[in-house]
Subunit: 340 residues, 2 copies
DNA sequence: TTGAAAGCGTTACCAG
DNA sequence: CTGGTAACGCTTTCAA
């Protein structure tokens, strides 16, 4: 087995000082003579020495490692969340250990590994979080922060947008712009965010006395496109569609224009959720709900800080206000139009 | 300071056995009596114990940690590469430590942190890798694998597509489909991949006797859109455009259709590079070069395995064959058309 | 099969 | 200011 990294003892030997002296040289505010420091730094430079955090982890019971659990990176919303998270964690002295899971039971499998690295906390950006994984992490006393998944509000801390309110705003907007037969493209039933968006939208539509047809789109572009075609196979062709995320909304727009030969927004209004970059591309110009990722990350980090000194974060829900971004895909006069 | 994780000593105490017995219980193939194993597992379960890898790192000089350095996650190509990498690393027993850098000097800043966690290797998916960072990692004897950046072929291992060949194929294709005045939207000069694509394209166009106008697009959608408008301000309005990545190509298509009122592919052919998901969306249907991310990740992992036992990977370039994906954005008869 | 003990690379504490 | 030493949690070796 090759020894790759030099140790403080190696440096001490070369510099002709004690190992303690090397340690002190790298500890700010420790008392080392200029002479010793010089010798140590010279030796360290020669050997390519950097102090190791590993023994510190044993001593302090703090690794400064945070597990970041991600699932569907196909959704650009999650890439931007990930990027923001990593940048913020680094800036505050944490190191993200990235964990990718395809499906939920795979998460259970990696929990022991995370534990073996003694992570200080787990941040999950999974749409879905199984009861089992939560229980496992609880037993290991690892604080868990759920991003965009509120189903475990009583056991973990969750940070998410106000999905219900946002979906209600979308329903209001579509109806105000003249829609009278709504279509909803749902995500995955396992996703609490998706369920909340569906609930808010259908509730508000009900209050407004407007019917809603529902098709599942699985949060993907192709799913949204297929769901849209199915919506138009039914008896009630919608004149306003809300997709539970932007990817599906973009698929819906393409289905309407390319597969069905309809115009957006002239024939059908379309709105999405997330405000991913492609939502603002000229070909789509999609009305959507902005999820304030930086703000959500901020909140998650606030929780992380407080959880760092506890064995578990205090359960609860943190809800970030959403913003409706109105673009061309719903750009019609506000005055209700006459519908056949 | 709270002690979050139980130790083998805690378990031993509760189980009424020695700490060695606990260790052996978790080491496959060690000799423990059924009775002891039972007591240990019961105690471990009660305390939520998982063996720690931290002391092992000290003993073996191997952390099984791999630093994954990422930059522009705005490009979906990198999210999919990241996802593939993380999945593969995990499957093979490594843990990715994620590092995000905004600009290159920021990388220099995190190198000491990576070293302090005793990472076994660094995989950089940065378009740009500074000379300084490479030198720093060399001095620390950390093997480096550069993904999609070949400028340091003599110092590190790089894995990339055959950018030159791919760009030549694109030039051939555009000209075969009738383009006679080419436009090239370049990425960033600092990116070796971008430079290679530009070199291959202009070289082949030269051989074919077709002029090329160049505008920089910075690898972003907006940049590609603006670059396209600039191409048409010049004296030579192109009838075929190659963008050094898909994001810029999509911006180009929107510029052509929305800003300039031209048709794609009827008036102008457009091709990109990467084959990101949105390239195949109906609104764009973009001809592009597929970078075989899974294959590239495979190659990188092969290098990682061999580098794991060395203090440095043997420098060299690994080049993965690209595939031209022909879609609607260049869909014109193969026979050369007459151009004014 | 079992327990005791050394050692990994640090930091903190102590005596000099 | 300096060097020696204990301690962290684990694996491995050795003796019982």
């Amino acid at each position: 087995m090759i020894k790759r990294y030099a140790s403080s003892t190696d440096v001490a030997r070369l510099a002709g000082v004690s190992q303690s002296a090397v340690s002190r040289t790298y500890r700010p505010g420790a008392s080392v003579s200029e002479e010793t420091r010089r010798k140590v730094l010279a030796a360290a430079d020669e050997l390519g020495y950097r102090p190791s955090r590993i023994p510190q982890i044993m001593l302090t019971h703090r690794s400064h490692l945070v597990a970041l659990v991600i699932g569907g990176m196909y959704n650009p919303f999650y890439s931007s969340v990930l990027e923001a998270f990593v940048a913020r964690l680094q800036a505050e002295g944490w190191q993200p250990l990235l964990v990718h899971v395809d499906n939920d039971c795979a998460f259970d499998d990696v929990v022991p590994t995370l534990a073996s690295y003694r992570v200080d906390a787990v941040v999950s950006a999974l749409a879905i979080l199984s009861d089992d994984s939560v229980r496992q992490l609880e037993q290991l006393r690892i604080p868990v922060i759920a991003f965009n998944a509120s189903s475990f509000g009583d056991r973990v801390v969750s940070v998410s947008s106000d999905n219900v309110l946002a979906a209600r705003l979308v329903a209001d907007h579509l109806v105000a712009r003249g829609a009278r037969r709504l279509g909803l493209i749902a995500g995955l039933v396992e996703s609490s965010a998706g369920r909340e968006r569906q609930a808010g939208f259908t509730a508000r539509a009900g209050e407004l006395g407007v019917p809603v047809a529902i098709q599942a789109g699985g949060f993907r572009y192709e799913g949204g496109r297929a769901a849209t075609r199915r919506l138009f196979e039914g008896p009630m062709a919608p004149d306003g569609i809300f997709a539970a995320n932007d990817l599906m909304a973009l698929g819906a727009i393409d289905a309407l224009r390319v597969d069905l030969g309809l115009r957006v927004p002239d024939d059908v209004l379309v709105a999405g959720f997330d405000d991913i970059p492609s939502a603002s591309w000229a070909a789509y110009d999609l009305t959507t709900v902005l999820q304030d990722a930086p703000r959500m990350v901020d909140e998650a980090l606030r929780v992380l800080h407080s959880a760092a000194e506890l064995t578990t974060a205090r359960p609860g829900r943190i809800v970030v206000p959403p913003v409706l971004i109105i673009r061309g895909s719903t750009d019609r006069p506000v005055a209700p139009v006459q519908v056949a």
